[in-house]
């Protein structure tokens, strides 16, 4: 059963329209990219918006944008991925609990701290009673929701599945991860070869369905996930399972993140894709566990518009001559690896 991406809602470090050709993105010269939040008033009623924390707002609004983009009111099923869940609410409740000696606490931030708050709030807002899951498996959270949507579309016809990946970066999480040596020095840009990556966040939602229509961006052929030791076998596996050779991939979006401890190894993992144009994406969204969802937004937009600006192409790579098969190879902390295989629409 074919799986099509029919709608996208994307909130990231960039403001762009997924229905138009990708334009040159603004470059950042800091070690942290925060989301550019859109005007929410067309997406979420102001009264509801006020009660939502930032990550819930981004998640719910991008979900609404994806549904609108796909031209549907309500999906049949909702399945999300988030590694950190609602961090800001968690931090607020935890801080108060500790500073107020477990007294005089209020429920709001506790209620919103649950990991399935975004998927639950989407269901609540649009009255969706269907299956509603949230995966929280670090760098595989989003890809697991995509994998589950493919299973649903193999089980049932004529359904729409809303999937997505959402994670926020807070001041505290940025400070803590900085202490782990995760990020570059403050004014090291992405392209400076140094230890560490740049911090990111985002909310990217998709409506997937069996039905191809005028709104369809691309076809999803497959997704698979693995840990470091199985990367090369998984790449071979996803290609052979879909009757493709390494040379059939036209464009490969690679999750290189500017960290000179990993980038060469990550690039080498896909060096067998002999005809592929290699493109990056983390320079524009930063590094975060569900960044694969942003890569899917870029890849889908590229397949819809058949255009990839020079800016995205990694050095030593040529402009793609075709867009038949696109592979997203992402990793998180060089532990969680995933491959997502897309195909251009056959019209």
């Amino acid at each position: 059963m074919a799986v099509f991406i029919n709608g996208i809602g994307s909130i990231s470090g960039q403001l762009f329209d997924t229905r138009h050709s990708l334009q040159e993105f603004e470059s950042h010269d800091t070690n942290r990219i925060t989301c550019k939040e859109p005007d929410y008033k067309d997406l979420v009623p102001p009264m509801q918006l006020r009660r939502m924390s930032r990550v819930v707002r981004m998640g719910v609004a991008s979900a609404k944008a994806a549904l609108k983009d796909a031209g549907i009111e309500k999906p049949t099923i909702i399945t999300m991925g988030t590694s950190y869940g609602c961090l800001a609410d968690t931090e607020v409740f935890l801080s108060k609990l500790l500073t107020q000696d477990e007294t005089m606490l209020t429920p709001t931030s506790f209620i919103q701290s649950t990991h399935n708050t975004v998927s639950g709030q989407i269901a609540l807002m649009i009255g969706c009673h269907g299956h509603n899951f949230t995966y929280v498996h670090r760098g595989h959270s989003f890809e697991t929701s995509l994998q589950e949507s493919i299973m649903w579309l193999n089980e049932q016809e004529d359904i729409n599945v809303l999937i997505g990946g959402v994670d926020e970066m807070t001041m505290h999480s940025f400070e803590i991860m900085s202490r782990f040596g995760t990020f570059k020095k403050e004014h090291d840009a992405f392209d400076i070869p140094s230890e560490g990556t740049i911090a990111g966040e985002g909310a990217n939602m998709f409506v997937v369905s069996n039905q191809q229509n005028d709104h369809t961006y691309a076809e999803v052929l497959d997704v698979c996930m693995c840990m470091t030791e199985d990367v090369s076998t998984q790449l071979d596996h996803i290609l052979s399972k879909n009757n493709l050779n390494a040379s059939d991939i036209n464009v490969c979006f690679v999750g290189v993140n500017g960290d000179n401890r990993y980038d060469e190894e990550i690039f080498n993992n896909v060096s067998s894709l002999s005809n592929a144009t290699f493109a990056g994406f983390k320079k524009w969204c930063g590094e975060y566990p569900t960044s694969g969802a942003f890569a899917l937004t870029l890849a889908s937009t590229m397949l819809y518009t058949k255009h990839l600006p020079e800016q995205f192409i990694l050095s030593n790579s040529k402009q793609p001559t075709d867009f038949n098969y696109v592979l997203i190879y992402n990793h998180y902390k060089n532990q969680y690896h995933s491959f997502t295989l897309l195909k251009k629409l056959s019209n």
């Binding site: 007294t103 429920p107 209620i111 639950g120 299956h131 509603n132 899951f133 949230t134 929280v136 670090r138």
Partner: protein, 400 residues
């Protein structure tokens, strides 16, 4: 897609027992784990009784065979998962089958993060990083999966109190889709200050031992634990000649879409989950012998769940009980723990009593089972788990 999914191994740890047999003995003997906490670090030690496992983190680390100073949930998850694998008698190492570990939790390494944060808030260069490195829910699963030696497929689900029931759904679905052959599915959660204080702000913690399905119920007692089942395909069952406790005959997840933390008065989400699970199983309402209810002891849950049960089952309401009076509400672990209890109810032909009901809920037309029923042929069991975010799950197990 029509492959059967069988349960071949069980593992559980809770305040009423360190393994399956101890848990079932406690349920038979109406033993409850409720009491004031010894190990939970809180200023509310004498305010709220909880269902705590009376072992320190170091003792649990030793039982689990893991290093010290990891989050408590890691040890609970590891201990119960190891029991389930051992019970199934499956050798994971060198196995040619595709093996998955699908685990749930709601708080990750929150218990150690709490200690980190205490120092970090005073000075952001302070706090031991080892106490926060496993904060993410997925970290717990990753640590346990590595310890068990599972890497073919590993994931973590977090949908509040229905989390581990949803692990069982996802594991079953992956076997039906022929994506995996064996799945260890369930979940774990340890007590921590975050949840105790959080549930306190919602004013749904009972200051006494909880009494699910009693007219005068005052709220829930929090608990901790872990529960896992080993799910296997037909192929594995035959090839390895495994024993089977039950078949996973139906499951469904639905959303109440009513409120972030409260159930709709008519229990819509509960009703959809139960009716869709029943539809999948192909059974009739009068085929269900026992419902292990979510039954937390809160005014809202027990009333909505009871009404939804009446809506679905009409005049043929099966025997119903909640084992949360024994174990407390173990959040992300309860679906896994109660799945183990359901399998054992079928294997021992018993139905567990619902403790501390002195006045049944007036608005409901059924009275939960009040004392142990033995020698009853329990063929089909329904297990309910409902959580925040309107997340409602119902599972149906059938005697193998």
């Amino acid at each position: 897609m029509n492959h059967s999914v069988w349960i071949s191994g069980l593992g559980v740890i809770s305040s009423i027992g360190m393994n399956t047999n101890e848990n079932i003995d406690s349920l038979r003997n109406e033993k409850s784990g409720v009491g004031y906490p010894e190990f939970l670090h809180t200023l509310h030690k004498k305010d709220f009784p909880v269902c705590e496992i009376k072992k320190s983190n170091d003792e649990l680390a030793e039982i689990a065979g893991m290093r010290k100073e990891l989050p408590r949930t890691t040890y609970l998850s590891s201990i119960a998962a190891q029991e389930a694998i051992k019970d199934a008698g499956i050798q994971l190492e060198g196995s040619s089958f595709r093996i998955g570990f699908i685990s749930a939790n709601t708080l990750g390494g929150m218990d150690t993060s709490e200690f980190f944060y205490e120092e970090f808030l005073k000075d952001n260069t302070q706090g031991h990083l080892r106490q926060v490195i496993n904060h993410e829910c997925g970290s717990i699963t990753e640590l346990v999966a590595k310890h068990l030696g599972i890497r073919h497929f590993v994931t973590t689900i977090s949908t509040a109190c229905s989390s581990s029931a949803n692990s069982i759904i996802h594991g079953s679905r992956m076997i039906k889709h022929d994506m995996l052959d064996i799945v260890i599915a369930g979940g774990a959660d340890a007590l921590c200050r975050f949840t105790l204080n959080g549930f306190n702000t919602l004013m749904i913690l009972d200051t006494e031992p909880c009494k699910p399905f009693d007219e005068n119920r005052k709220g829930l007692n929090l608990g901790e634990g872990a529960g896992y089942v080993v799910l296997v395909s037909d192929k594995v069952k035959t090839a390895l000649g495994l024993k089977t406790y039950a078949k996973v005959s139906g499951y469904a997840n639905a959303n109440d879409a009513f409120h972030q933390t409260a159930s709709s008065p008519e229990g819509n989400g509960n009703y959809y989950a139960m009716s869709q699970a029943l539809e999948m199983s192909g059974l009739n309402t009068n085929d269900i012998d026992y419902i292990n209810a979510h039954g937390t002891g809160t005014s809202n849950n027990d009333s909505s769940e009871g009404i939804a049960i009446e809506r679905l089952f009409g005049n043929t309401i099966p025997m119903v009980s909640s084992t949360k009076a024994n174990t407390g509400h173990t959040l992300g672990a309860c679906g896994g723990i109660e799945a183990v209890y359901c399998c054992m109810a079928m294997s021992q032909n018993i139905i567990y009593p619902s403790l501390r009901i002195s006045t049944p809920i007036k608005e409901l037309n059924f009275i939960p089972v009040a004392s142990l029923i033995e020698s009853h042929d329990v063929k089909h069991v329904m297990s309910n788990s409902f959580g925040f975010g309107g997340n409602c799950t119902s599972l149906i197990f059938s005697k193998a």
